[in-house]
């Protein structure tokens, strides 16, 4: 008989309890996987949009929650272009509207000349890029949800009909579930005549961007200049989702830990006399602790497998209810989940192991 089979036999004594414990860990792991997956995907979608813009700095309105609620006068574009460090500057609108049953449809407004910043130089998957007022390109997911093809008309509010010129696929959940119109149209849709959400600055090769951003902020006190690489950390939505992900994960971990600990305490307590016998036949306490930790690790491993399955199912279900969220998985998330289940096993066994090491054999053997 191997040590492992001894451990497994111990777990099989009370199958229901072992299964319930693993399921308990599994639910915790599933929560961790689900939340971290969404947080990661959301972060990536944001990062991706910023990276597409290829600018160094983003100028938006001071003291707003995030870019969809920012609005600044478009005249600032010309003001900013005057700085010698600036190679290019363009305004864009990112706004969120509700359409029929879809609570949020992201509209990106950009000068048709600059449309490449979203789509690269590639052509749309179907149809053409927008050129004029009254035209819209939509993402693949949006074309799905709204059942729109090239040449179809799309209604974005009263008396605002747009002709779909093309359908694109970027892999970015925000872009693919949204649409791109001319800056002018976007200003009308968002009720922001003469204003933009943000101005992206592409600075010259060796420009001092730090100096540039403080100059802009000093000259125009209502503007906020953010480095592209810091952009994500300034977005309240991202921040709160990240925070949520961690809080829920921590809660799940604490609950999982309590479940493991409770099970092991019960099973160790029931086996007090047996532990006495093991000591009497010459087992070292270290071996007994190894046995308990082994049981705990196996519960954790089964819990991890259950958690991965539940987590993937959970992500797929939630992703299917929202167009903004894509269901791509990341190895890192699973590695975190794996380490969580390891930590649960180890920490959950700490107190039971401590209790075991306090068992006095002479007394344990008197146990009935």
């Amino acid at each position: 008989m191997s040590f492992l089979s001894l451990i497994i036999k111990n777990l099989l004594r009370n199958k229901i309890r072992s299964i319930l414990t693993s399921v308990g860990i599994g639910i915790g792991i599933a929560v961790v996987i689900t939340f971290l997956t969404f947080a990661t995907n959301l972060n990536q979608s944001y990062m991706d949009i910023i990276n597409r813009c290829k600018g160094d700095l983003i100028v938006c309105q001071k003291a707003v929650q995030d870019i969809t609620s920012s609005s600044i006068d478009q005249d600032y574009i010309h003001e900013i272009k005057r700085y010698k460090e600036v190679e290019k500057a363009y305004g864009q609108i990112i706004t969120n509207i509700s359409l029929r049953d879809i609570p949020s449809f992201l509209i990106f407004g950009i000068d048709p000349e600059d449309i490449d910043i979203y789509l690269g130089s590639e052509k749309p998957t179907l149809g053409k890029k927008i050129r004029h007022k009254g035209e819209i390109m939509i993402g693949k997911i949006a074309s799905y949800t709204f059942r729109k093809k090239v040449e179809d008309l799309m209604e974005l509010g009263p008396n605002k009909r747009f002709k779909v010129t093309g359908i694109y696929e970027t892999g970015n959940a925000f872009l693919d579930s949204g649409g791109i119109v001319t800056l002018r149209d976007a200003q009308e849709i968002a009720n922001l005549k003469g204003r933009v959400s943000a101005i992206v600055i592409d600075s010259k090769m060796d420009a001092d961007t730090r100096r540039l951003s403080s100059m802009i902020e000093v000259t125009f006190p209502d503007l906020l200049v953010i480095r592209s690489s810091d952009f994500i950390n300034t977005q309240k939505e991202v921040k709160s989702i990240n925070r949520f992900a961690w809080i829920f994960s921590l809660l799940a971990i604490v609950i999982g830990g309590i479940v493991v600990m409770n099970t092991l305490i019960m099973s160790v307590f029931e086996r007090t006399r047996e532990v006495g016998i093991l000591i009497a036949v010459g087992w070292r306490r270290g071996r007994i602790l190894k046995m308990i930790w082994g049981e705990s690790l196996i519960l954790g491993a089964i819990g991890f497998v259950i958690g991965v399955i539940l987590g993937i199912v959970g992500v797929l279900i939630i992703a299917s209810t929202s167009t903004h969220i894509n269901a791509s998985f990341h190895l890192g998330t699973f590695l975190i989940a794996l380490s969580v289940s390891l930590v649960l096993s180890i920490v959950g066994a700490l107190y039971p192991a401590y209790r075991t090491s306090k068992i006095l054999p002479a007394i344990a053997i008197r146990y009935e």
Partner: protein, 223 residues
């Protein structure tokens, strides 16, 4: 004359903060290969004494030498228990979820035996106690007499010098009790194992070479 394998001097042990004097100045010597029975009424301290000999508990004062080790100073009592002594208790000796064969292998974890050697040795021991046909049976499927025989096989797992048996026939009928005693006698002779057996039955004690009477934590009389 054989060597002395157990030597106990002025051993005392109290419980509950000194209120209960379980052992009250025990002096005892046991020779190698001896079969000693300790007899006495319930609560006189028999089990407590046996636990001291097996290194399961520590006295308040006195000295315990077993198989050349000073147990009060011994650092590695686990090793001592695993290699020098084998315990047999009255009840609930065994791990209920394991088979007979697996129970005998339990003490062999940590010994030098490989898995297959351990299994072979366990099988031989089961043969010796006449349980080879029940080797796959789980403990609850065995009768009380069979369980005690299994406990004997397990006590022999690491070829100890001493077997400490605490009421091994306590809840058996006369017949199965006799069988256990005969088996213990056989092991005592053939395997040259020193045997210390605790009982409160005169007839059981008669199986031994020497009987020690205990009362109120003291040795009263030796025969």
């Amino acid at each position: 004359m054989n060597d002395i394998i157990i030597k106990i001097k002025n051993l005392t042990k109290t419980f509950d903060g000194g209120i209960i004097k379980a052992l009250n100045g025990i002096n005892l010597e046991v020779q190698e290969r001896e079969f000693v029975a300790i007899i006495g009424p319930s609560g006189c301290g028999k089990s407590t004494l046996l636990n001291m000999i097996g290194g399961l508990d520590m006295p308040d004062s006195g000295e315990v030498f077993v198989a050349g080790k000073d147990l009060l100073k011994e650092r590695d009592l686990a090793r001592f228990r695993s290699q020098r002594v084998g315990f047999i208790f009255q009840l609930h000796n065994l791990i209920p979820t394991l088979s007979a064969l697996e129970n005998v292998q339990i003490p062999m974890f940590g010994s030098r035996l490989t898995k297959s050697e351990a299994k072979r040795k366990a099988y031989r021991l089961l043969e010796m106690v006449g349980l080879e046909e029940r080797m796959e049976s789980l403990v609850p499927q065995l009768s009380s007499g069979e369980r005690q025989r299994l406990a004997i096989a397990r006590a022999l797992a690491n070829s100890p010098q001493i077997i400490l048996a605490d009421e091994p026939t306590g809840n058996l009928d006369v017949q199965s009790g006799d069988r256990i005693l005969r088996l213990l006698q056989l092991i005592n002779k053939q395997e040259e194992v020193t045997l210390v057996l605790v009982t409160h039955s005169e007839s059981v004690a008669k199986a031994a070479n020497r009987i020690i009477y205990m009362l109120d934590g003291k040795i009263w009389e030796e025969l």
